[in-house]
């Protein structure tokens, strides 16, 4: 049986705020057919989540209004349903999976109890215990999970449990809003496979909302691209990837960092850098106390970095990849002397910076020179800039501190920095909240580069950004590298991104470096099973 499970036509939704009604979706129409995997792709703010949530009769809060249009679930108009009917619909005929699995479950209730609740919710209980076990089995969760607390499970397992609950009543439609964004790539692939299998087995339609085009390239039956509240293109992935019609789609597609199917050594591949080590770690271990005894003495430790030897040489770019919790961020910060190692030694510019005894004593002058030469940019664009300072202050204060400019020529220097990262000069007197995430990340990069460092550590600087913005930042970094002769330690979990900017890559797992070498050879012939797994899990934009 075919036909539309969800039909949205001419949907216009707005929110009321001080300045009247602002339109969020401008006439969106789409149709999800029975048993179909429909992907709704768009950047943040494009209105994709708002569109998807109307399938459950939700409007954005506060102040959301339906201006025009019609949403029908199996032919029945959702927005004219009485309240009880809507409740039956939610969790009954439509299941919902959100982005963050750790906040989708109540931390004070056992997973099993929450699954039982989901089963009982819509009356037709039957044998609850049997059904819960069935549900767990269907999402490939071991039965012990039923008695576990949410905090005892990994993100992937939690998301499986959420999917199981969403499917408890064999809904006609499953709305999945970025369900894998918070997960590591290998887990991402597993959850996607699971959704795919469940769809084939139960015939549920899936409306999959994501910003990651590559993720759905191979799985979706059809996809629609949204931009600024409108669907700009719709079709099968094959059509779409062969010939995207809308300029925005083309831009989106071009921005996806990709790993070539067959990895030939890149033509511009340079020989492994041989220069002096700018930053070097020898036998590095970093531990954090995990549990404390009654008297406040650490009893148990978590080892984030376990015995790493690593050197970043002058004029090179080293990528450090690994899943979350692999210790790559800790390693990066320890390498800059921001975290104290528990064992081993860290050298910057050939001088001992810290070892197990603590940070090496340095004069204030030395400290300043060191800080200047080694810079770091962090992931979180929301908090990387002081909200109380103007961009002028943010950029000029470090330069003044390091004597790179006086108060007089600060203005000119700041303007130059803005030119370098391609931001308008009138940004100087603005405050961080006036900028988007990508723009803020540019400012953070400009700030780090204002001191003319030798080495820049980029700690997941693009992972929170949309693909097109991501591509811009990566291009910027590549250009700056060429212009300034900068060395990079590029920390990321996305292999494709690393390949874009680095010649060398080190793969980290559980605090150890399991494989390292030139990008081309590591990606073409990974020797470690873990690296292979990581590579296999990278979503690819299909070629046809």
């Amino acid at each position: 049986m075919s036909g539309a499970v969800l039909g949205i036509s001419g949907l216009r939704i707005g929110v009321k705020d001080a300045g009247g009604v602002r339109e969020l979706t401008r006439g969106v129409s789409l149709e999800v057919r029975r048993g179909e995997f429909f992907a709704l792709v768009g950047e943040s703010g494009s209105g994709k989540t708002i569109t998807a949530q109307t399938a459950l009769g939700f409007l954005p809060r506060p102040g959301g209004v339906l201006l025009e249009g019609d949403v029908r679930l199996e032919g029945e108009p959702v927005f004219s349903m009485p309240e009880e009917r809507l409740r039956e619909l939610r969790g009954g005929r439509v299941g919902m999976v959100f982005q963050e699995p750790s906040s989708a479950l109540d931390p004070l209730m056992r997973v099993g109890d929450q699954m039982r609740e989901a089963v009982r919710l819509h009356g037709k209980a039957g044998d609850v215990e049997k059904r819960v076990r069935e549900m767990a089995r269907s999402v490939e969760l071991p039965e012990r999970v039923i008695d576990a607390w949410p905090h005892e499970l990994s993100g992937g397992m939690l998301q499986r449990a959420v999917v199981a609950m969403a499917l408890a009543h064999r809904p006609a439609l499953l709305v999945a809003d970025e369900p894998t964004t918070a997960l590591d790539v290998t887990i991402q692939a597993q959850v996607l496979d699971l959704l795919d299998r469940l769809r084939r087995e139960t015939g549920v339609s899936v409306l999959f909302v994501t910003h990651n085009l590559a993720l759905v390239a191979q799985r979706a039956d059809r996809l629609a691209v949204m931009q600024r509240g409108e669907i700009v293109e719709e079709g099968t992935p094959a059509e779409f990837f062969r010939a995207p019609r809308h300029p925005y789609s083309r831009r989106l597609l071009a921005a996806v960092p990709r790993l070539p199917e067959v990895l030939e050594p890149a033509p511009e591949e340079r020989p492994a850098p041989e220069g002096p080590a700018l930053a070097e770690a020898r036998g590095l271990r970093v531990r954090f106390p995990a549990k404390f005894s009654l008297f406040g003495k650490p009893k148990e430790w978590v080892e984030a970095v376990r015995g790493v030897d690593l050197a970043v040489r002058a004029d090179s770019a080293l990528g450090l990849v690994g899943e979350s919790g692999s210790g790559k961020s800790t390693l990066g910060q320890t390498l800059l002397g921001l975290i104290r190692p528990s064992e081993g030694e860290v050298f910057l510019d050939g001088r001992l910076v810290s070892d197990a005894k603590g940070f090496a004593k340095r004069s204030a002058e030395e400290e300043r020179r060191l800080r200047r030469a080694f810079q770091i940019v962090f992931q979180d664009t929301g908090s990387s800039l002081n909200p109380r300072m103007t961009v002028r202050q943010i950029l000029s204060l470090p330069m003044i501190r390091h004597g790179l400019c006086g108060r007089a020529d600060a203005e000119r220097k700041c303007a130059e920095l803005l030119d370098m990262v391609e931001l308008p000069r009138d940004s100087l007197s603005r405050f961080p909240h006036a900028f988007s995430g990508g723009q803020r990340q540019r400012i953070a990069v400009a700030r780090a580069l204002s001191l003319r460092p030798k080495l820049l550590v980029c700690d997941e600087i693009v992972s929170a950004l949309d693909v097109t913005v991501q591509a811009q930042i990566l291009a910027l970094l590549k250009r700056l590298r060429a212009e300034l002769g900068l060395s990079l330690l590029f920390i990321a979990h996305d292999l494709a991104v690393v390949r874009e900017v680095c010649e060398e890559v080190a793969v980290m797992k559980d605090g150890e470096i399991v494989e390292r070498g030139p990008c081309a050879s590591v990606f073409a012939r990974p020797s470690e099973p873990y690296t292979k797994k990581l590579l296999a899990a990278v979503p690819r934009v299909g070629e046809g």
Partner: protein, 354 residues
């Protein structure tokens, strides 16, 4: 996820500082803004003190000379009296020969000193409200309205100083705890816990008994305890903020500790100070009133609301005493609460994110 903040390109007003945005948001809460203005005006008026309520003329003419007795001392003898002490202008005005000489004087709106007793009135005090004494007089025949105005000034000055001193100390103590962390924080936190367990009222009474009950002494002994509450908030804010990207970035950029404390963290940690300020002010006014009421507050005969309240209780048959001071307290505290509400709205992180 990239924030949507300027995806749709916000119009003018986008480029305001955070402080400015918050002030605008505060002003948009009409009730709070009006309350702040009302409190400010009332405080400003009370600050004028003897220019508003006092028994010395603002300006007078005596035998062809223009005098400003509010600011200058004139003895009784100058006006043909016998005493060398300051002239009693109310009595002078009543003298039959005064007006005859073409002399005149202009009194403040409330022509009564808060300390002056009208004991020569025919009936025993307290006197009911009249054209002379708009809110009547108290048990010692002193003008209630004048004492209210001067008491308001004393209360506000006391509460403001208390809030300022305790905020300074609380910010410094809590800030250092959160900033330095580690052993210092641990030790300081234990000290604060022990300190906060001291019975506040007894200490205030004790200090008053040993060192006397002056304005400064009372302020000091209350400030000794008042800072604790704020230091908890500051400690928490500093602990939270020191792991923020811009603070870590500042450290990585080689900025000094002083810069990180003062420029990076402090301005962002002030939210609890500002939002709690109106409520702390209320607390300060309340505490002073309570201490005065119990007789452990400011030295009599300082005009004070607590002392008036106590009189109101003694003279329950004279409802104008208790009635007026309760009304004044009520209005003041209500206005301050409205201001506090507005401040809370202005600093609402949810509004910030939109």
């Amino acid at each position: 996820m990239e924030k949507r903040r300027n995806a749709d390109g916000r119009a003018a007003g986008e480029n305001l500082s955070l402080a400015r945005l918050r002030w605008n948001r505060f002003k948009s809460v009409r009730r709070a803004y009006a309350s702040l203005v009302a409190l400010g005006v009332a405080f400003a008026i009370s600050l004028l003190g003897p220019l508003v309520a006092g028994d010395k003329p603002l300006l007078m003419k005596y035998e062809g000379r223009l005098l400003v007795p509010v600011f200058a001392f004139h003895s009784d003898a100058e006006f043909g009296g016998s005493r060398a002490s300051e002239a009693d202008y109310l009595a002078l005005k009543a003298r039959p020969d005064f007006a005859e000489g073409g002399n005149w004087m202009v009194f403040p709106i409330v022509p009564h000193d808060p300390l002056r007793s009208y004991i020569d009135a025919p009936e025993p005090p307290p006197h009911a409200p009249s054209a002379e004494h708009w809110l009547g007089t108290d048990g010692s025949a002193r003008d209630v309205l004048s004492r209210l105005i001067h008491g308001f000034r004393v209360s506000m000055l006391f509460a403001l100083s208390l809030v300022t001193v305790s905020a300074l100390f609380g910010v410094l103590a809590g800030g250092l705890q959160g900033f330095l962390g580690g052993r210092f924080d641990l030790a300081a936190q234990r000290f604060v816990e022990i300190w906060s367990a001291l019975p506040f009222l007894y200490v205030v009474i004790l200090v008053g008994a040993v060192f006397g009950r002056s304005f400064g002494m009372l302020l000091l002994s209350m400030a000794l305890f008042e800072w604790i509450g704020l230091s908890y908030y500051m400690r928490g804010e500093f602990l939270r903020l020191r792991n923020f990207g811009y603070v870590r970035s500042a450290r990585a950029l080689g900025m000094g500790r002083f810069h990180v404390f003062v420029r990076e963290i402090l301005p962002n940690a002030m939210t609890p100070v500002v939002t709690l300020l109106p409520f702390n002010l209320i607390g300060g006014i309340g505490s002073l009133t309570a201490l005065d009421f119990l007789g452990f507050g400011l030295q009599p005969p300082t005009p004070s609301w607590g002392e008036l309240l106590a009189q109101g209780l003694q003279h329950l048959y004279a409802p104008w005493i208790a009635g007026s001071v309760v009304a004044a307290l009520f209005v003041t505290l209500l206005l301050a609460t409205f201001v506090g509400e507005g401040a809370r709205t202005a600093f609402d992180p949810k509004a910030e994110r939109r």
